[in-house]
């Protein structure tokens, strides 16, 4: 059983008057509580795949099955209902939220929109969500712009899990964080995955991070899958040219200086 099955997904854009495929015939699947990483250089199609899966943009060809339903065929109320099960966390939570909104407001929205908790029950749910992501419930009254970047990303994760999703798309979700905070956020994501059986589509340019948290990895090059396999095996022994280039480009702490 899979949570997400993507088949022959293609998205074309025009560049300089000529069509090119940002995503070209890509197929993959993600199981429950599995982390599938997408790696690749800029322009390889990682974020386009994320946006297609989230239906922020529509593909030119291909099929997306989410929780055994034809996700591309859904619309209206059925799509909204299904979207509760498919959440997202982006790189910059300050850009994702209204900066003047309070933390409580940001967490209240999904609970209200998806009719998860009544008005009287919601403050308690918000407090529980904050605690679940390691934040003090007292943070609820603070504005998004007042809290630190790490706290903001925890709020983004709290909002993502508010609707009990089966899949969260994490698009460079830890890339802008300081390394000390990054470690804590990755631990939180792994903990949530274990407890709630959430699957992650984990997009990152950093093979070190991917190797640390992902079960499998797809290496993309110019919109196509260059290779795919166990995350550690691929990083240890990449087969594709782009996989080899990505591994070679990783800065290493213990290197022999030339």
């Amino acid at each position: 059983m899979t949570v997400l099955t993507v088949s022959n997904l293609t998205k074309r854009y025009h560049r300089g008057g000529k069509p090119f495929a940002a995503v070209d015939d890509v197929s993959f699947e993600i199981g429950p509580a599995e982390t599938l990483a997408l790696a690749g250089p800029s322009g390889s199609g990682k974020s386009t795949i994320a946006r297609l899966v989230l239906r922020l943009i529509e593909p030119d060809a291909g099929r997306i099955d989410f929780e055994s339903a034809d996700f591309l065929a859904l619309s209206g109320a059925a799509l909204r209902a299904r979207r509760a099960r498919l959440q997202m966390v982006f790189q910059d939570p300050l850009a994702a939220f209204n900066p003047r909104a309070t933390v409580a407001r940001v967490l209240d929205d999904p609970l209200r929109i998806h009719d998860i908790a009544s008005r009287t029950e919601r403050p308690r749910r918000i407090a529980a969500l904050l605690e679940r992501v390691g934040l003090d419930a007292g943070l609820a009254a603070r504005a998004i712009h007042e809290i630190s970047g790490g706290q903001r990303q925890r709020v983004a994760i709290a909002r993502a899990i508010a609707t009990r999703p089966s899949l969260i798309v994490l698009d460079e979700a830890v890339s802008a964080l300081d390394v000390s905070v990054r470690g804590q956020i990755l631990e939180l994501l792994l903990d949530l995955q274990r407890q709630e059986r959430i699957a992650y589509l984990f997009i990152s340019h950093d093979l070190g991070v991917i190797r640390a948290v992902a079960h499998r990895v797809i290496v993309l090059d110019a919109g196509r899958i260059a290779e795919c396999g166990d995350a550690r095996a691929v990083v240890a022994n990449p087969q594709s040219a782009i996989g080899k280039a990505l591994v070679a480009a990783m800065p290493r702490l213990n290197r022999n200086r030339p």
Partner: protein
Amino acid sequence: MTALLSIRDLSVRYRRDGVAAVKGISLDVGGGERLAVIGESGSGKSTLALAIAGLLPGGAKIGGRVDWFLPESAGAKASLSVLPDISPSRGEIGSSVAGLLFATSKIGEGRDHELISPLEGEMSGRTEGGATERRPSEIGIAQTPHLGRDIGFVFQDPSASLDPVMPVGKQIAEVAHTHLGLDWPQSLARATTLLERVHLPDPQAILRAYPHQLSGGQKQRVAIAAAIAAGPKLLIADEATSALDTIVQAEIVTLISRLVAEDGMTLLFISHDIALAAALADRIGVLRHGELVELGETRQIIEEPRHPYTRSLVDAHLGLDAKPLLDRQGASA
């Protein structure tokens, strides 16, 4: 190794009542060395770089001193004119003198008050005539560093540091024209050579290209070409590869490394990435909350960090040989 610059007890505050962004930093940068300064967000690493380059905004309160030891020949064309800013995004004309105290053998002679006062007053990085007028005339020009001529600065975002409506060749040539006194044909010829040196394909075409026609990596190569156009003694790279993907980052690091070696430049490499710093630097300084908590040879910092914070940075690095978090937690799909 003779010092190129010597920083003593440098402190910077952006607001009168604000916390010091940088406090009590003392540091010597040797001529020809590659020094990396690493730290997390808010550690003061960019403030330190901007202070050295004289690019701090007006209103910043600066304490301490930065002494330069530039060779006399560096002052060949010590233009007192306004310098072209290599970073229009900052919206200001950089004067490398503003806000810094340059001690030389000629300081003294009852000018102490004049020299110290800038540290207390409002130093404006954007006074056009003011900065040059304020420069104490008795200070030897050779010891007065100019951004662009003596200091090359490469910022994180090349889209913001290049003028979007000027061909990139002209932006590079302008630096050579201003600081080396070359005429325009000579300056453009130098720009072409520089585009070759930063390994851009078809320099003749790139010369006439606008920034939006180039990729992020290509733009950063152009910014590097502009930064080194006047043959600076010091190249400051402030998170210069952070916005680039891993492969392009590695190429740019290799390029910087090669240019620094070929031209005998001193490198100040500002980064949040300890592994990147280790790959490039002879020494690494670690900043935390505005303080220099540790400074040492790269090998010592990485293998035998003395400060607990340095150790935590080394430990937090997720390298390709680190134990996966998945294993540490014992979780599996």
